[in-house]
């Protein structure tokens, strides 16, 4: 449940060439989440759908069907004000100030203060641009701060519970009731506060060829600090294995260049056409982390569960794969790895940063045509510069696993000299290039001109179309689909680029007939 009362007041006035508008407001959000769980087991196979009569389930005991539930309230309160100013509609300036408060943070740190400024210059409004080829030219620049409060609720408050359970209680006497054991379930971090991102951006909008060609170029740079992460305490002797904190000094910088172009035109013969696209070049880097690695994605599969796949590493992007580098097989057909530190032992000290799950380039382009009732639309999209960890192959399709079984995959048996007893630990062997280009959408349609025909009395529109989605993907990735993100989150930190039994995208072709009466 989400409640959002919003109050604000605006005021506009103009003096000659100066135009002002000011706004001040207050917003309040209350998020109430709750859930309950019950279970009933052992439904007989029969005609009755269990949903219509849960009582036919044969097992309903408190031990095996323990009810569960949770409820939480988060509140967000913001005060904000904004002043817009423009001079002759040529020079534009905006000043924002917000104060955001969240119930998730400690009493001393509930509020974050986030100013921002932006400036704009409509160059085409200038006299000297009157005969220029530009139909539109605008320069923009801005600076601002925003806050992030994405942590679980109740982090500022400790929880100690007293329960009789197998992990908290113990018999203190030969007979009698078991004592309820009191333990810390959560350590409080009363000082946890807003993560702050400071963004600077510069952009240029332009229109050329009498508005046929439009586009924009944007550069941005966002630096986040006071990063909110769940980390493992240095001292292993702790009541709880992890705690949430603002990682001191650490910054994450995300910068990039975005270009967008769009061309539309038509000919006298009635051919209308357009094409365009956008591309973003991205760069991400973690700096001044006090840790060698803060894990963000863990492997799954039996025997693999405590291995890191990716994490936050200094001078690398987030989602960086941190793995032992597989170098092939030895004479016995067992895997070998690069001994990075040269100590003669292959261990986790030999893990290296081997690329990231974040693409360096994201792009999309499109085209459309319309001619005498025919219309054609095509859309491509893709990414490059990223890697994918094929956890599916690592956990299920390795030679040792398949050798004593009946199934196989070409990848598992690709190396004839690999021993059937070769273990498959997490390593770069299963790290693959994640670049792809997808024909996302292709649609061809024809609209009959019914109005000019006698039938137009009854049918005002008739259209035939065929639409294909995900028609092909160009990629070197040999898993199901390069667009993956199985959530392998550990410690509440998002994971990226790990393929674990991801369901592939469907390919569909839809034939349509539209009739309008």
């Amino acid at each position: 449940m989400l409640t959002i009362p919003l109050l604000h007041a605006t005021y506009n006035f103009n003096v000659k060439d100066h135009s002002f508008s000011a706004l001040a407001g207050h917003s309040y959000q209350k998020i109430f989440l709750q859930g309950r769980g019950w279970s009933i087991n052992k439904f007989p196979v029969g005609q009755i759908e269990p949903i219509y009569n849960p009582a036919i389930g044969q097992e309903l005991t408190l031990a095996n069907n323990k009810p569960s539930g949770y409820a939480l309230i988060n509140e967000l309160q913001s005060f904000f004000s904004r002043v817009n100013y423009s001079y002759q509609n040529k020079y534009l300036a905006t000043v924002n100030f917000r104060m955001d408060g969240s119930s998730k943070f400690g009493a001393n740190n509930k509020y974050g203060y986030f100013p921002s400024f932006s400036l704009g210059w409509r160059i085409t409004e200038e006299d000297f641009m009157k005969n220029s080829p530009f139909s539109n030219l605008k320069l923009r620049a801005g600076w601002g701060q925003t806050g992030n409060q994405e942590i679980p609720s109740k982090i500022t408050q400790p929880l100690f519970t007293s329960t009789v359970s197998s992990t908290t209680s113990y018999p203190l006497a030969a007979t009698g009731a078991y004592p309820a054991g009191t333990i810390y379930s959560r350590l409080a971090n009363p000082d946890i506060q807003w993560e702050v991102s400071t963004q600077t951006n510069v952009g240029l909008d332009f229109g050329l060829l009498k508005g046929k060609l439009n586009g924009s170029v944007d550069y941005f740079r966002k630096i986040s600090n006071n990063i909110l992460l769940e980390v493992i305490p240095a001292d292993p002797v702790q009541p709880a294995g992890t705690f949430w904190t603002n990682v001191k000094d650490m910054t994450i910088t995300n910068s990039g260049l975005e270009v967008e172009l769009d061309y539309r035109s038509s000919t006298r013969s009635g051919l209308k056409y357009g094409f365009g696209g956008n591309v973003a070049f991205l760069n991400n880097v973690v700096e001044k982390s006090p840790y060698s690695v803060i894990q963000s994605g863990s492997a799954s599969g039996s025997g693999l569960t405590s291995a890191t796949i990716n994490g936050y590493i200094n001078n690398q992007p987030i989602g960086t794969f941190f793995l032992k580098e597989w170098t092939g097989l030895d004479a016995n057909g067992l895997s070998t790895f690069r001994d990075v530190d040269g100590d003669g032992i292959i261990s986790d000290k030999d893990r290296v940063a081997l690329g990231t799950a974040l693409p360096k380039v994201i792009y999309a382009f499109f085209g459309n045509l319309e001619y005498k009732g025919f219309d054609l639309v095509v859309n491509f999209n893709g990414v490059s510069g990223n890697k994918i960890y094929d956890n599916t192959a690592n956990a299920s399709f390795y030679k040792l696993k398949l050798s004593k079984n009946v199934n196989t995959t070409p990848e598992a048996i690709a190396l004839a000299k690999e021993s059937v007893n070769n273990a498959a630990p997490v390593s770069s062997r299963y790290l693959k290039d994640g670049a792809y280009m997808r024909l996302n959408n292709l649609a061809l349609g024809y609209s009959f001109d019914t109005r000019s025909k006698p039938i137009g009395k009854w049918i005002s529109g008739l259209r035939l179309s065929v639409t294909g989605q995900n028609l092909f993907v160009v990629t070197q990735y040999n898993g199901y689909d390069p667009e993956v993100n199985a959530d392998r989150t550990i410690n509440g930190i998002s994971s990226y680029g790990i393929d674990m039994l991801s369901y592939p995208k469907a390919r569909s072709v839809v034939f349509g007939l539209n009739l309008t009466f």
Binding site: S166, L172, A307, S347, A395
Partner: protein, 561 residues
């Protein structure tokens, strides 16, 4: 105009100060405990200190680390479907365990969490007015030493943390040994001797002190080419084991198997044990782990079976055969095997009452017999009793392959089949275990009297008193009068004593420690030829190393990992 702007901003500020909410976090679904009595608080503080013992003494945790790494147990990738776990059990046996091994991490986590609970208990019980508070403080501090002793043995480190607010000091080697001695000696006078075996008693601390002195040579100089057992340490072992033996509170069990039965809590052999209760914390993993997946030991539960986990290595089996040849070990030593299921030699079948039916115990060889499960129910004889006969690999979809445990077990495809290897059923399969995994009843031994006698024998032997050592070894060998008296030995040396510890204490989570102390851990046995001394301790889990990387030099990985 200007006035209006100011007015507007002023309204803004006014709203700021009159916040509509204080943003105080409302907690709806949990509450921290309040309103407990002094006794409830004291009991509730000491119980969690012990509570993770069943999880530490678990088949995949301490058991795997202490046994599968040795010649006593091997766990192949059964049939290509079971216990594969990406090769972690193969690596463990070959001494190629890495710092990301999940079982090493889980054991570490349970031990460090228990340490933390012990430190918190010592601190919070200081202000308690409960009459038991003083005893509980001594127990919590003693358990702090016990968990640290486990960490010292497994990873070569202890955590010195005298106060919950302090960051643990990581200590290794002699300093660690001396610190643990000091703590154990401090708590010993405060402890009771009537609260065992499930809780830490005076005698349990004597046992821990004996263990600490016996292994001090190893703990002081872990990677030594050969260990130097100081006479004064051996004297301490003799002193502390002597205190236990002469207390006359404990007795060697005439029935060897009774030590491991469901109702073993009152068996006088136990000095310190994990107190398991079926209705609270008990697991049946010790009995379940090695047993065939087609062995259903309980007439009451058709879902309770084994799992075809580890077997003993042929090398360990040969140590029994070589000791007693030409007599079969089952005839020669009451600790090797106990036959419970007797079938007709011709029909290979028998009929049993539900109440009196028990499966065989000890080391299981050859064709296995058991209840006949067909379509989810057990077959019965015409007289209504339960039918018992040869069992087959039905649950493995090989209904015509009988469950025949062979001596050969290794990592080849043939040696990794479901039934390969001789199995161990030392603990009784809990009569209450509905799933075969849960509801364990038997206490799991940590220190028992036979171990105490054998520790004293070893200390005497290391000091050159072979006659005294022989007396202690034979005291144990001849004590099992209810299950067939074992033969006395006429002489004893260190190899003989090591073998004797294997015969008496097999699969009781001592083997790795014993092999290291007797200099045999770098030896060669089935599927194992690694001779790296660095493997005498396990790697510190990578999660802990990475977690501590913000304090450079604080938690260093062990050499060789």
């Amino acid at each position: 105009m200007k006035n209006k702007i100011i007015l507007l901003l002023a309204t803004g500020v006014l709203t700021l100060t009159q916040s509509c909410t204080k943003l105080k976090e409302t907690i709806l679904d949990e509450s921290s405990v309040t309103g407990l009595t002094e006794k409830q608080i004291a009991d509730g503080t000491i119980a969690p200190v012990y509570a993770q013992l069943p999880n530490i003494f678990l088949h995949t945790n301490l058991f795997a680390l202490q046994e599968i790494s040795t010649d006593e147990a091997i766990l192949p990738y059964r049939g290509g479907t079971d216990w594969g776990d990406n090769g972690i059990y193969l690596s463990l046996h070959r001494h190629q365990t890495t710092s990301t091994d999940p079982n090493v991490r889980n054991t570490w986590n349970f031990i460090t969490q228990s340490l933390s609970r012990a430190v918190s208990a010592v601190s919070s019980l200081q202000s308690s007015k409960d009459p038991n508070a003083k005893l509980y403080i001594a127990e919590a501090r003693g358990m702090y030493a016990f968990y640290n002793l486990l960490a010292l043995d497994l990873w070569g480190v202890i955590f010195v943390k005298e106060d919950p607010g302090q960051v643990s000091k990581i200590v290794r080697g002699t300093e660690a040994v001396e610190y643990l001695k000091k703590v154990l000696l401090e708590v010993e006078p405060q402890l009771d001797n009537t609260t065992g075996p499930g809780r830490l008693t005076k005698a349990a601390v004597w046992g821990l002190l004996a263990k600490l002195h016996l292994n001090a040579a190893v703990y002081n100089d872990r990677y030594a080419a050969s260990f130097t057992f100081k006479p004064e340490d051996m004297d301490k072992v003799v002193e502390y084991t002597g205190k236990i033996i002469s207390s006359n509170v404990y007795a060697l069990s005439p029935d060897y198997w009774a030590i491991f039965n469901d109702n073993n809590h009152d068996n006088k052999e136990h000095i310190f044990a994990v107190d398991q209760r079926a209705d609270l914390n008990g697991h049946n993993r010790m009995a379940y782990f090695s047993l065939s997946g087609d062995q259903f030991p309980l007439p009451a539960y058709t879902g309770a079976n084994g799992t075809d986990g580890p077997a003993i290595t042929p090398d360990f089996y040969r140590s029994w055969v070589n000791a007693y040849t030409p007599t079969d070990p089952a005839q020669a030593d009451p600790r090797f095997y106990k036959k419970n299921v007797v079938v007709d030699p011709v029909t290979q079948e028998a009929c049993y009452d539900a109440a009196s039916y028990r499966i065989d115990r000890g080391i299981l060889r050859g064709q296995q017999y058991g209840l006949q499960r067909v379509n989810g129910v057990f077959l019965k004889c015409p007289d209504g009793k339960f039918k018992v006969g040869k069992i087959y690999n039905v649950t493995r979809s090989r209904p015509t392959t009988p469950v025949v445990h062979t001596e050969q077990v290794d990592f080849t495809t043939a040696g990794s089949d479901y039934s390969t290897g001789f199995r161990v059923e030392k603990y009784e399969f809990s009569q209450k275990s509905v799933s075969g995994r849960n509801f364990g009843e038997a206490d799991i031994s940590i220190i028992r009297l036979a171990d105490v006698y054998l520790m004293r024998a070893e200390a005497k032997l290391r000091k050159g008193d072979a006659a005294g050592a022989l007396t202690d070894v034979n005291a144990v060998r001849t004590s099992r009068s209810a299950t067939g008296v074992g033969r006395s030995l006429s002489s004893i040396d260190l190899d003989g004593l090591f073998r004797e510890r294997g015969f008496e204490l097999y699969w009781e989570m001592h083997r790795r420690t014993d092999m290291v102390r007797f200099g045999k851990y770098e030896g060669v046995w089935t599927e194992k030829n690694d001779a790296d001394k660095n493997k005498r301790v396990f790697p510190i889990p990578q999660t802990a190393i990475d977690g501590a990387s913000n304090l450079p030099g604080y938690l260093k990985q062990n050499p060789g990992y």
